[in-house]
Structures are given as structure tokens and as C-alpha cells.
Symmetry: D2
Subunit: 371 residues, 4 copies
């Protein structure tokens, strides 16, 4: 484990729980936690039961008793660590977004594929049961031809101009560490899900905005220009002919982490909302006309994805379980030889869309998505 | 039209509109409005287009140009007016509840049946499209064996102890005018719907409460004991073996007129809510297990009850339309000879349940409902 | 009244009801209904109580006993009739959109302003109580600086390729009669509300799509190219610095007439949905932090817009009431000399936005909105 | 840990997680799992990391290396085990309901109080953040005088007559093992919460029903009379003068585990629903009248109960977390010497209400609740 912040906790919890709830050949052994600050990483290791600590990730990669590294550090460090880890022959789980941009991502893909190491990116929302159920319904052809896709990810935590940028907990506001603002942080999630559910995005027209132009920088203590996008919206056309709108912001008062998507097909539609992540809304036009309505599905039954591993119908699971499922699927992939997605290669496509979005916001034109 | 209060307006609106939206043999002609206060009734008649006014309902009944009387006065006057109207051979539409109690109601039923005059009671909620759709689904057997019925009617407008009782607009708080509090006013609606949808109620166990013990009486200006029930809840057993809970109050902060009912059957369940009267919630266990959910039906399509007479799908109608539907059905009943319910006889059953409820609240025992 | 289709009914109902519920100096007298088909217009006049019929709108305009004309015909006839009516000195209420395009609209504005005739366009949604309440909250400054606006209007009634285009009831699919598809029909509503609530739109980037390329034309009986936009989405920047997404389609399975808008401000946010038009969602960040939440406001109280004219708290009104309110406000405007909006001039701005949207969809570029 | 069924898993998960998320002096060490079936308990211990296994709970109690026992076995065994454990000086966490009835419960309370061993009963729903928040709001006086309490717990998993009774996973249908049906299983939860939030219940009037009269018994293989209550509803009066309705059933089609409660106070009201356990509905009448509405609170912020220990705002936790919180509070209680509730003594009150309910259902009279 490299990094001991929010994601470090979420992943550690997943490693510790997965064996209690899933029958798997492989067991997770928490060998080492790694972070620059010795005191922090020692406390983290103690709390989560890591057997040892490191303060330099190169040291960690040099160890023989480490089979897999989990990269939970700011975006600007993903590429260098992942490339080195691949060379060292470690399996790699990398936080999203894969990279700072597509060209960096391309190099990372090349590295893991050359080294033939199992790899995955933590686009965890795919593995919330309701989202996986949506995927199943689409794959079964329940929706028919797709006309529309719309996604948004709305937050409201950076509205105050007093909030500084940079440093622990706030590197997401620092463009040097994060690469971009909501595009790489939030829209990347929306794009990953969309590509998975609805296929390739061909082209986009985007706009971005930075509402608060300067913020104190935590590393320098001085007021500095804000380089990230506070908000981003884009139009898109998918390869299957459907139209899409995407939007993300951290200035939507009243929404903490409202990631929603909706898909409208010829026969049926689907809606999902992260604020009620255990529900899926489903409308089927083939229902008798006088009793047609959006079905509010409480996704907590044993015949719904992942749920036989948990409690009983009606009793919901939460956010953290998506990580447990991702670990379970990754380990199952090792067993079966069928790697679980999204691999680095899958995640590179999301990176290409992000690149096109940010480019379009600058050029004020429609931009094609690289392949 | 006898009475020119809230219900007088609601019914007048219905008489004026019904011909614009429904094709009917009979036309409503607003011949006369009647109320004690000359100035009020004159203004009312002017506003609604009544051709004449009366200040004594006996005068009205004596007129030859009146075919039908609509009784929209406080409950204590229903019996005397309805009985006289029946003797005068007038058709009668009477506000709910039918009477102050069952024995009074029995006399009224005898009067209209002896006189063979068409009659109906204004339990208007039956004719909201979503409620009528519920009735259709039940009659089609969609629910199977019924296990549970639960209804409540919650308001919050009498919480202030400063609110007086008695007189215009507040006679519902005066036990002499109203007969009872929430039982006759609100639960009567719940009971009428329940009998219509789920059949006879056999017995009940009830409790009532008067939270504010004394209020100023508007007619005397003096503080007087409050004689009505502010709240009433009861358990019930239906003839079909299902169990029920009913509750009503005017002390439920946050609810203006929250009338809801839910029916749980072997195969399907239904839920409805007056605050979103254009929706019906429907759960069908025969849906495939992974996509089962409560269907939120937006009842606004032309193949749903009454709606072909109104606008287009998605555009909702409101409260007042229930009265238009009731007039339309009454007039259609005159055409076909199949009287539309609830007739006085139907409404008498509701009266019997109210009687049993109020009695049980006093005796603290289960009480059987009279037949 | 020129035209006796869906909107002819909605407006006639409004004229008939307004006097029952609003105290106004002016009274609506239904002098004449006008439509090409004699049989249809005669039946329409009989049903709604029009005193006479005309089959040529020029005849109608020539009559001295007509003070006001209501234009409820397909969009391609608005300009010619309105211009003639202005010359004839009639007051004009015109269905939306004002015109086929901005230049036509400009001429119409010139005509009514030259003739100094009172005029208004039927963007009725402004006058649903919940929407008017939103306007009040914004005008009171409750939201603070506005960051985001998002609106969509989703329907699903044209998904079947069997549906023909053109002729009675289907002229909205015929580009010659309608001018455009969802842009002029549905987005025009969204734009009107947006301009009213959030001010001028500066520029847009749009995409449109026609999913079904050919449909039988009802007037020729032959398969013909579909010229309208089935779907349209656009990004926009408002003059106040806020960002927006707009979307409309008739291919969103499960939505009959789902017009929603949301506004995110610094301090508070608002959400509204036509499918539950009597509710307004309101989030106020100034609420104590542990009990902050979206407030689901049941807009049915007498201190909320228009509602003192109707029933009692908890009892909702519906779609048709927006037209009654518009007539009431128009008549009140005649009394006070303060014309009620949207006037032709107000509606012209919406037309300019529609023009820019349709142009952008063609040019694939951001387009500025004309002034 | 005695018992390795559903609750055994839920509690084991709590013991394993609590140290990762809460800073506590005490650490949970999973010393031994105990169940009759050697193979089952061995597998259970392996999966959850228990250091040893026992097949006789008396053996377990005899061990010196056990400080605390957790009783997760059918209700008929609670008393004998708990009494013995108290004598052995072990701390005791006992599944709910405390006992088969009040007199048995009284003995258990006597045993733990005599032995002075820390003790608690697993009424876990108290510790869902939204429910705890409700408690805080009530304790702060936000609601004012309480008028109404209503709770229900609806399930639908026993509707099929093919479902047998008795044995592993189905002992809840066997009256000998369970003591009662929904009353002890589901209503007990509702009652515990109600007593905690709203104080003592004075008297009740109840009805119960067994819809399916006979079911195959898994232990004998023969059809046997069903002795449990399939459904139970009761009216109640609280010591504070408020009225209540309670209902529970396993025959409410469409509801998996719909536990809801609502409290109506003079100034504010609260509603909660287990199916969306991370939300609390709150209505405050002191809000300005035109923007009053039920606030839908997404309980996921760090200043809401327990949540600073978990993720970030907007990211919900689930059912299982209630157990983690209960362990955390129990351990904190050991540190501070302020025992966390509900203790055996607290849970005895719930038992007395259950007794009165079951008695009233038999006598068909109002019954007082023992003290």
C-alpha cells in the first residue's frame, strides 16, 4: 500500500474484509504500508494491521515479499510508480484516474503489458450492485437501441473562497498534483461507467469554468492562481449513435456526491444515483400500459449482483463495499485467468475522453477522442 | 346549491366544467344558490353564475324549477334537509359524512329510497384517477388474497391552542355542528375508500384523544370544552380476513392533508397518497425477481381512468377534478339507470363504521360494526 | 379563439374559469371560435360556449365585437395572423413559440409595438405556483451568486417509427408547420423559464439528432424525410457567469413530459419537476449543518403564489391552472397598465436563443445569441 | 461467540472492524466460536479468524481466556446461557429480544445485576446514524410536545405456504424456539426505538393473526400448526400523552425489511425508513411558511453521529455499521464506566410491552404494561 490517505483506508478495509465474505483461493496479506511521513505511516500501519512500513516507495518495490502494490497517491505520481512497479514485476492496483493525461497513460499501459503483470484501476463504482445490475440489464438487451445517456457528478465542498489549495487532503485543488479538477476527479468516474455501459465515445464539445480564480496555496502559504476546472460540462456522441450530456462541478449547493446516470433505450430506461446507491430505477415500456411506471428496485436480494455475500433482503450495503467487490473480482481474475476490468488499458480510454474534453474546453470546438 | 362555503365552490366548479369535458345527455343548469346570509349568497351566486338566490332552504325545495339539490352545509343539517328534499322529490347530492350518526343516516336512506330519488354522497376521493385505477386492479384480481389494509389522514392545522371553535370555517371543531372531529371528517373518507376497495369491516378497536381541551367558541365568545376528537386511531378486521390500521389527526406537524392508503395482497401491493394524487405506487411480485420494485405510476394517460377527457400524458390534474368526475358519473348514471355510488345506502355503511369507532373509543373494547 | 386543438381547449377552459376564482375588472366573453373546418369549429364552439364561429381568421379580425384574439394554430401561421391582428388593433395572446425564427419574431414585435396592442405569449409554465415561488426566492436573493442552471424536457411519444408526421395532432413532427422539433416545442419552454429566472444567455454549443429519418407524411400519404430535430442538447453561458446544460428529446423512454430545472446558488439551490408540478425542492445551506436537507415543499398554501384563489393547503392544482393564472395576470395588467410577461418582446429573446441553438447544431461551433 | 448464523456473522464483522475505525482502549480478540455442529463452527471460525472452537457453550463459559460472550442463538436459549454466563462472571452481549417473555427477562436482569457484569442487548437500529440523530433532535427539544408516534416493520418473506418452519434459518417460524412471531422479532425493534425516543408505553390494544395455519416442520418433517403471529398491530398510549400505532407483518408484499417510524411534535416532525437508512426526514414548522417542507437529510456528514469515523459526505454506510457502532459504544462504556444502552434492564421494558401486546391480542382488551 503506497499512500495512507482516504483511499488508503478504503482499500485497506477491502483487503481485510474480502476473505470474510468471499470464498477465494488467494488471501490478502498486508505486508507493508508506505508513505513519506514516518509517523503517519506507522500509525496507519498499526491501525490497519500492516506488518511493516516504508517511507520510500522504491524501497517497497525492491522487496521480494511484496507481490502487489496499490498506488493511492496523488495523480502526478501514478506514472512513475506504476512504471517502476511493472518493471519490478509487481501486480498493480492503481487509483483513478490512471494518469495525468493520455500520453502518460499510454506509457503506463505499455509498461504493464510488457511486464505482463496483472493490473487494474480503482474505478470502484462499477461494482456497486445496482450499477452492475444496470450492466446486466443492458447486456441482456433489455433496453434495445440506446438513444440517450446523461451523467452528472455534483458536489458542493469548494464553494468557500477561504478553502486553500494543495497539500494533504487538498491536493485535488492543486493542478500540479491533480492534473485537472472535476474532469479527472469526478467526470472520470462518469466516463468509466459510460464506456462500460454504453461503449465508445466518439467526440465531445466541452466547457469548463474556474469560479474562484485564486486560493491560498498550502505548500507556499501564498495566494496562487487556481489551475483546475471547478466545473465542466460536455456534450458527447457515442459510437452507437446515442447522444450524451455530462456535467460535473464542486459548486452545486445541496449535493455532496451526487453521481447520477440515466440511459434511455427503445424499450426501457435506467436511472441510478450514488446518494441512494442501493437502488436502481428501471422503467420497462413492455409493462401493461395502465400500470407502467419507474420501478424503484431496492437492490439487496441474493439474486442481485454481489448480494448473496452480504446480509438479507432489505438490508443495504454502502460505499465501501464497492472496493471489497473490486478486490474479490481481481483475485477471482487471478484464479480464472480472466482479468477483471478496468485494466490499465480500459482506463486509458477514459483518459482519452478526459483529454478531448479538456482540449475542447480550450479550443471551443468539437474534438474527437483518440484511440 | 345549499351552502356557499368551501364545498359549495368545489361543487359549483364541477357543475360548470363537466359539460366542457364530458359528453353527457344532461346539462347542469345553476338555478339557485341558497344560504342564510343574503349578502354572502348573492355574492356567491354572482361569482358562480347561479340564476337566483334563496336564504331559506325550504323555499328552495318548494320551487318547481329545481330538479336536484346539493347539500353543502354543516353535518347537523344534512338529515333534515335531505329528508325534506326527498319528500319534495328532488334528486340529492349530499356532502359527507352522510349524517351525524348511523340512526340518522338510516332515516335518510329510508327517505330517499321511499321517494325513489337519485342520490349520492360526496366521497369524492374515489374518483381521483389513481384511486379508481387501484379499484380496477383489485377488481381484476391483480392483488390476490388481501392480507393488509392501512390508511391514514394526517393534518396539522389545529395545533395552535389559539384557534377558536365554531362558526363559519371552523364549525368542524364544534361537536354540535360536526358530530365528531377527525372521525367524521377525515376517517370517513378513509373508510369509504376502504369499503369500496376491500369490502366490509367487521369490527374495530379504537382510541381517540382531544389534545386541546378548551377553545374559545366563536358563537358565544367564551372558552368552551372541545367536544370533538382531535385524533383517532383504530384497528380493524375486514370480512375478507385482512387486518387494518386506520389513523387520523389534525396534530401531525408537516402534513397538510396527507391521506394515504396501502393494500398488501398475495401477489401485488398498492400505495396512494393524496399529496401526490396523480401517482399510484404498484408492486407486482410476478415481475422478474432481479428487477422487482415499486412502480411509480404517473397516472395521466388516456387509458387510465377519466384521463382521456383531460390533457395529454404527463400533464396532471388536481383535487377539484374528482368532483367533476363525480358529477359526470352521476349524470351518466341517470342516463343508464345504473346509479353511481356511493349512494346514501353505501354511505350509511361508512356511518356504521364511524359509530363503532367512536363507541369503541368510549368502551375501550372491540366493537362490531352494525349492518 | 383561432384554432380548436389541444391548446384551444386549454385556453378556453382558462377564460371560462378565471372569473370564478379571481376578482377582476374585466370579464372574458367568448365571442367567436375560428378554424378552417366548419364542423369541427361548430362542435368546439358548442362545447365551450363560444357565441359564434368563423372559418377564416381574416373575417374574425374584421369583426368589431372582438377585442382580443388568441392564436392557437401551428407555428407557421403565428406571424401572419399576429401581424394582421395588430393592424386590426386587437389585443393578442399567441401560442408559443412566438415565431418560426427570430427575424419573423422581430417583425411581430414591431407590429404589436407599433399598434400598441397588449400582447402576450403562452409560456404558461412561469405561472405554475411552484415556478413562480422559485422566481420569488431568486428575486429575494435567497440563492446568492448563481453557479449552475440545468434544464431538460424529456418525452417518449415519438419513438415508434410507425408514427406519421403532419396534419392534425401531428403537425409538430412536420418541419414546415413547426419550424423545428423539440427546440421550438420543448426547449423554448425551458429557455423562457431560464431567461426569466436567470437572465440573458450569451452563447451556446448545441447538437441535434433526428433518430427516425423518414416517416409517412399524413398530408401526402407518402414516406417523407423528417426535417425536425428529435433531440437537442446544448451547453450555455449566462450573462451572470453561470453555466448551463439544456436537453430535450422525444426519445426518453419512461418520461411523458418531464420538464425539470435546477439552479445552484452560493447559498441555496432549487429544483422543480413538471411531473410533480405542485412541489418545489429547496436546499438552504444556512440551515444548521446537522439538519440540512432538500426541503420538499408541497406548494398548496395560501401564502404561496396564486393559491389563495384555489382550495386549502394540501390539495393540489394541476397543469390547466397555469393558463388560468396567465389570463388573470394579463387582465390584471390591463387594469394596472403594467403588462404581464412574457410579451412578444420577451418571447423574442427565447426565439433568438433557439436560433443560436439550431445554428450551432449545424456549424458545430459555439454561437452567440442575438440581441 | 455462541452461534454462527446470520447474527454471528454480523457481530463478528463488527468485532473485526471496530478497531480500524474507532480509537478505543480495548481491543476485540476473537478467542472462540461455539456452536453445536463441529463442522459448521470450524468453518465459521476459520472464515472469521476465531482462535478456537467449542461445541458446548458450558465449556466456553468455563474457559478463563474468555472475558465476554456474545449470545447469538435462538431466543429460547438466551436465558439459560445468559444466566450461566453471568454466574461465570463474563460480560454479556445478547441478541434481541432479551428473552421469551418478561418473567424470564426479569431473571436475566437479576442475574447480570447480581454478578455486576457489563451487559447489553443487540437492538442495533438505535445506532444507525440517522436514528441517533433523531434521538439528538428530540433530546434538544426540537420537536416540542409530542402528539403522535407511528412505527411499522413490514416484510414479505413468509407469504408462500410452502415455506416450512423450524430448524436452521427458519427457527423464527417455530414458536418453541422463537417465543412469538413478528412481535418478538420485528416489533421488539420498533418498541426498543420507541421507548428510547419517546419514553414509557402505558397500555396497548393489539390484534394478531396467523395467515398460514399449518406448515411443515423441518425438525419432524410433518405438517404442524403454526404457533407464531404472522402479523401484529397495536394501538398504544405513551406516558407523555402521545398516541401510537405499531404494526408488523411478514405478509406485506413489496417490503423486504421496511422498518419506519414517524414522530409528530408541536414544532417539528421526524420520519425514518430502514430501506434508506442513511436518510432522515425532518420537518420544522419554524421555517418560513413559504419554504417549509420535509427536509430530506442525507446523513453522511462528519458532524452527524458516528460519521466522522467513516468516509466523506455523500458516501453512505450500511446496515452492518450499526453493529460496529454498538461494539464501539460498549467498549467506550467500559472505559468511561457509563454503560451503553440498551442494557438487559432497558431491554426488559421492551419485553414487558411485547407481553402486554400478546396478552391484549388474546384478551381482546386494552392491557397495561408491567413495570
Amino acid at each position: 500500500m503506497i499512500g495512507c490517505g482516504f483511499m488508503g483506508r478504503a482499500h485497506s478495509n477491502a483487503y481485510r474484509k474480502v476473505g470474510n465474505f468471499f470464498d477465494l483461493e488467494h488471501e490478502c496479506v498486508l505486508q507493508a504500508a508506505c508513505a513519506r511521513n514516518k509517523r503517519n505511516v506507522t500509525a496507519f500501519a498499526a491501525q490497519w494491521g500492516y506488518a511493516s512500513v516504508e517511507t520510500d516507495w522504491r524501497q517497497l518495490l525492491a522487496r521480494d515479499d511484496i507481490d502487489l502494490v496499490d498506488i493511492c497517491v496523488p495523480n502526478d505520481l501514478h506514472a512513475v510508480i506504476a512504471t517502476a512497479a511493472a518493471k519490478a514485476g509487481k501486480m498493480i492496483l492503481c487509483e483513478k484516474p490512471l494518469a495525468m493525461n493520455g500520453s502518460q497513460g499510454r506509457q503506463m499501459v505499455a509498461a504493464v503489458e510488457k511486464a505482463r503483470v496483472p493490473n487494474m484501476v480503482w474505478y470502484n463504482y462499477r461494482r456497486l450492485p445496482a450499477v452492475t445490475l444496470a450492466k446486466q440489464l443492458i447486456d441482456e438487451g433489455k433496453l434495445g437501441r440506446i438513444f440517450h445517456y446523461r451523467a452528472k457528478f455534483l458536489q458542493d465542498w469548494t464553494i468557500s473562497p477561504e478553502l486553500p489549495q494543495g497539500g494533504t487532503g487538498l491536493w485535488r485543488l492543486d493542478v500540479k498534483a491533480a492534473g485537472s479538477g472535476v474532469t479527472g476527479d469526478l467526470l472520470a468516474h462518469c466516463i468509466d461507467t459510460a464506456l462500460w455501459l454504453n461503449g465508445r465515445i466518439e467526440k465531445v464539445s466541452a466547457m469548463t469554468e474556474t469560479f474562484i480564480k485564486t486560493r491560498k496555496h498550502n505548500l507556499t502559504g501564498k495566494l496562487a492562481k487556481v489551475g483546475i476546472d471547478d466545473a465542466c460540462a460536455f456534450l458527447a456522441r457515442f459510437g452507437n449513435g446515442s447522444l450524451a450530456t455530462f456535467e460535473s462541478t464542486r459548486y452545486a449547493r445541496g449535493h455532496k456526491a451526487l453521481y447520477t446516470f440515466e440511459i434511455n433505450g427503445e424499450h426501457a430506461s435506467i436511472f441510478w444515483d450514488l446518494h441512494d446507491l442501493h437502488r436502481l430505477q428501471y422503467f420497462d415500456h413492455r409493462d401493461p400500459s395502465n400500470v407502467r411506471g419507474w420501478r424503484n428496485i431496492h437492490v439487496s436480494d441474493s439474486d442481485q449482483p454481489y448480494l448473496k455475500h452480504w446480509w438479507v433482503p432489505g438490508l443495504q450495503i454502502g460505499y465501501e463495499h464497492s472496493f471489497v467487490h473490486q478486490v474479490a473480482d481481481f483475485l477471482k481474475g487471478l484464479e480464472t485467468g480472466q482479468p477483471a476490468g478496468p485494466t490499465f488499458r480500459d482506463a486509458l480510454e477514459t483518459q482519452f475522453v478526459c483529454d478531448a474534453v479538456l482540449k475542447s474546453a480550450k479550443t471551443q470546438k468539437w474534438e474527437k477522442v483518440a484511440k
